[in-house]
């Protein structure tokens, strides 16, 4: 799937005719069908940028919200990278942009662990295979990479909306098997060796590994606050935050979403983490 997220037009699988008249009918029908669908296939492939998938209009339901927050955040159609950014791609980026190389890094843009698993500024070494997702990258570095590609980081709403899809449904909350798989991942410690990008199945939109690989940076990670019934409910934090008190969580059964919110609110933009990577998005 090098050329875009849209599924390639599948060759009509052999409709096996029993009798000759049917053969003719079926054959003609299939040709017509192919002719009718071919332009669709072509246009879908050329409109999606390479290695990105289209995610259509939808609505994101924030897990936590205050009385004045939107109940439903509209998500406009956008493109999302099919797979996570790899070490190989990130190496290309730092080669072209020396200020993002490990030894050149300004400390406000990434902490001391930035790309610490690489062998050198321009060398991956044995701990970072080219096709593994790049990790130990800060939000600033992820953002700069996206900008370099003419892309951007997905927003929290976009990411959550895309990640809600199961392999077969746009709204994966209705897919029990999918929910079980996610929970299994969240309850398993990160593997010592990260799997290559694209190892997981495509979801409804054609995007892979939104669950089951690494955590991902989003552009507005610093909009997530855990308040009220969770750990942020201290005197200090109550003073820290403007806005009305949180109404509370919308969907108390969505444990993975809680985990993501907790994780995001613990992040700072210069942090780098062993299981935190990113992928890029783009406006339609």
């Amino acid at each position: 799937m090098k050329n875009g997220g849209a599924s390639p037009l599948r060759p009509p699988s052999g409709a096996l005719p029993f009798r000759k008249p049917f053969l003719i009918f079926n054959f003609e029908f299939l040709i017509l069908l192919a002719l009718a669908l071919a332009p669709l296939g072509v246009s879908a492939q050329t409109s999606s940028p390479p290695d990105m998938a289209g995610v259509s209009n939808g609505v994101f339901h924030p897990l936590f919200r205050s009385q004045t927050d939107l109940k439903e955040v509209p998500v406009k159609s956008f493109y999302l990278d099919v797979v996570l950014v790899t070490n190989e791609k990130f190496l290309e980026f730092v080669r072209a942009n020396p200020r993002w190389q490990r030894s050149q890094m300004k400390r406000i843009f990434a902490d001391e662990s930035y790309l610490k698993h690489w062998a050198g500024d321009l060398e991956l070494g044995t701990n970072a295979r080219p096709d593994q997702p790049v990790v130990w990258v800060s939000w600033f570095a992820a953002k700069a990479f996206a900008q370099w590609q003419g892309k951007r980081l997905p927003t929290l709403a976009e990411w959550e909306f895309a990640a809600a899809a199961s392999p077969t449904l746009a709204d994966g909350t209705k897919d029990a098997a999918f929910q079980r798989d996610i929970l299994r991942w969240y309850s398993t410690p990160s593997p010592g060796v990260l799997p290559s990008v694209g190892h997981g199945p495509k979801n409804f939109w054609g995007v892979r590994d939104l669950h089951g690989s690494v955590w991902e940076w989003v552009s507005d990670f610093n909009s997530a606050t855990v308040t009220g019934d969770a750990r942020g409910d201290t005197g200090l934090d109550r003073q820290l935050f403007c806005g009305a008190g949180a109404v509370g969580a919308k969907d108390v059964e969505n444990f993975p979403a809680f985990m993501r919110y907790g994780f995001r609110s613990s992040l700072k933009a210069a942090y780098t983490v062993h299981n935190l990577g990113f992928r890029c998005a783009k406006d339609l």
Partner: protein, 203 residues
């Protein structure tokens, strides 16, 4: 007969060339390192983002280099906490000894890219009586606001009314733009920040 056509084609070609040239301006991520090396590793002044002041001037944060800055993020139509934060900053200004007061900047940066136009900021400056001598009021594009907030650890999001829920932090930058102190909360006495400013100012 053919000459005008040729001229037309030529001018079209130059126009194309011109647009190509502007498209080739590198985004901030990717400009050469040399342009960045003046500032220390932890200086906020190395940011490439461009901001607009209430006087309509387009500036980078680097223009503030040279004196310590007391920084907060706010939005002009904020009813609840921002007025308190600004009051806290004003109390700090008043509490500073004369020689430090003229040598300390106060910086307010708006969350509200949409409504806080330079004019709106100017009105706010007048309303809150923020002196031109010490106070800088800036607005920026949403992406740059998000980045600055990330740098000083401010969490915020826009709500359904177009207002902002945000954390309240006053940050002190030294003259080089490095974060030297942060005070979360509201309605706090100015003592600690004043002490910090005294300690970082060279007599």
């Amino acid at each position: 007969m053919k000459l005008p056509l040729l001229l037309l084609a030529l001018s079209a070609a130059t126009a194309l060339g011109a647009t190509n040239e502007t498209a080739e301006v590198l985004p901030p991520c990717c400009r050469p390192l040399a342009a960045q090396t003046n500032y220390t590793d932890k200086s906020l002044f190395q940011l490439d983002s461009v901001w607009t002041s209430d006087a309509g001037r387009r500036v980078k944060l680097g223009v503030l280099r040279g004196r310590p800055q007391v920084v907060a993020m706010f939005f002009a139509s904020c009813q609840f906490t921002c007025p308190l934060t600004v009051s806290d900053m004003q109390r700090i200004e008043v509490a500073l000894p004369e020689n430090l007061r003229t040598n300390t900047g106060f910086l307010l940066i708006s969350f509200d890219s949409e409504r806080d136009t330079p004019t709106a900021l100017k009105v706010y400056r007048a309303k809150r009586e923020l002196s031109n001598q010490n106070w800088t009021l800036l607005r920026g594009e949403p992406d740059n606001v998000r980045e600055l907030a990330a740098l000083i650890g401010v969490i915020f999001r826009k709500d359904a009314n177009g207002d902002f829920a945000h954390s309240n932090v006053i940050t002190v930058l030294n003259a080089e733009g490095e974060i030297v102190y942060q005070q979360p909360g509201l309605n706090l006495p100015p003592d600690e920040i004043v002490a910090k400013l005294k300690s970082i100012s060279i007599p």
